[in-house]
């Protein structure tokens, strides 16, 4: 074993000098990412939490009131909105009158709740409106047997940022007054003509 006598110059450590700028650079980048991460809670997702709650779910259609659903003209065409004009969505993974969205999913896509039979506004067929009881004992509004949701990425009336998004294993679409999903600017896919539920993908 080598014994260090303290007088001879130690072997140069090439990596030590070369590494210093790299270390500083990586440390700076890490600090930047950490700072950015600390400010990332503004995505509307409530940061790490938000589970089991509706987060910033819109007040309209909440458990304390009766939901209103009406139709509004948008760049997507006529779509369903709530009483305050917020876009309502359907989830392709849902089965008729059965929601497949809970937990983190329901935090990202808050359910349209109602304390009673929802009211039909203009352009909406009252016969298609209904409700289902969810696992957490809340009541969710349905339209043509589609459970209805909001999208956390919509901050107000007239927005439909959730249109066509793929999340939690299936796509999300705005809902046409006829009862089907809206695809782009035209009504498409499920039960477009007001017939059956029609989950044909």
């Amino acid at each position: 074993m080598r014994v260090w006598n303290g007088t001879k110059r130690p072997p140069p450590r090439r990596s030590g000098r070369l590494r210093r700028p790299l270390v500083a650079l990586v440390a700076l980048a890490a600090a930047g990412v950490l700072a950015a991460g600390c400010g990332s809670n503004g995505s509307g997702s409530g940061g790490m939490g938000g589970y089991g709650s509706s987060g910033t779910a819109p007040a309209s259609g909440g458990q304390s009131g009766v939901a209103m659903v009406s139709a509004a003209s948008t760049s997507l065409g006529m779509i369903l909105v709530d009483g305050s004009g917020r876009t309502l969505y359907l989830f392709e993974k849902d089965r008729p009158n059965q929601s497949a969205c809970a937990g983190a999913c329901a935090a990202a896509w808050p359910v349209d709740q109602s304390s009673g039979t929802p009211k039909a506004g203009s352009g909406v067929k009252a016969s298609m409106l209904g409700t289902i009881k969810r696992g957490d004992n809340t009541t969710q509004v349905t339209y043509n047997q589609h459970p209805l949701y909001y999208y956390q990425g919509d901050s107000g009336a007239g927005q439909h940022n959730g249109q066509g998004i793929n999340a939690f294993g299936a796509a999300w679409f705005a809902v046409a007054p006829a009862g089907g999903a809206v695809s782009g600017g035209a009504t498409a896919t499920t039960a477009a003509n007001g017939g059956g539920y029609g989950y044909g993908g």
Partner: protein
């Protein structure tokens, strides 16, 4: 007297650590390890909490199962970095965080459909609880683990081994700061 390199400056890696430098080294090492573990911990918590919502996204394995696996592996990597800060531990942390970051970015922007046993995990939104925070944490963990690797020394130089055992242990366990 400190050894000098060719430019006449004291060679950081060859100078015995004084008390102040040693203290900074130990503190720096712990800060790096705790920060890396914390970033991996955030990654683990988000994946564990979100897993139930992804149980229905299935291939041969479900996305929920993959999320739980990621959470467990991230916790293991965090513990390794905290308890056993060796080069291999930093490599594990780097791989775990890097693979998670790569996956979330890939499936955020590219629709791969089902891939072998993997389910279709395409999700073109950040509007999922904790998703963005988790991605930032993974990126931070990648950088911190890389920093850990860059500053890690496998064994203390002989002149430090001749010093106190505490100094040697500190040098092995983490980065050493240059002397001034």
């Amino acid at each position: 007297m400190p050894a000098l390199d060719r430019s006449g400056r004291a060679g950081a890696a060859t100078v015995p650590l004084g008390r102040g430098a040693l203290a900074r080294s130990v503190i720096g090492s712990w800060v790096l390890r705790v920060a890396t573990a914390a970033a991996l911990g955030i990654d683990a918590v988000v994946h564990w909490q979100n897993a139930p919502a992804y149980d229905a996204v299935t291939g041969t394995v479900s996305q929920g199962a993959l999320f739980r696996t990621e959470a467990v592996v991230a916790v293991v990597a965090a513990l390794l970095v905290l308890i056993r800060p060796r080069r291999s531990s930093w490599v594990v942390a780097l791989l775990v965080a890097g693979s998670a970051l790569g996956a979330v970015l890939l499936y955020r922007y590219v629709d791969l459909g089902t891939l072998g046993p993997l389910p279709d995990m395409y999700e073109n939104t950040w509007q999922v609880p904790g998703k963005l925070l988790s991605a930032y944490a993974e990126a931070a963990a990648v950088l911190l683990a890389a920093l850990g690797l860059l500053t890690h020394r496998g064994a203390a130089p002989p002149h430090e081994a001749a010093g106190s055992q505490a100094a040697g242990a500190a040098a092995r366990s983490g980065p050493r700061l240059p002397t001034r």
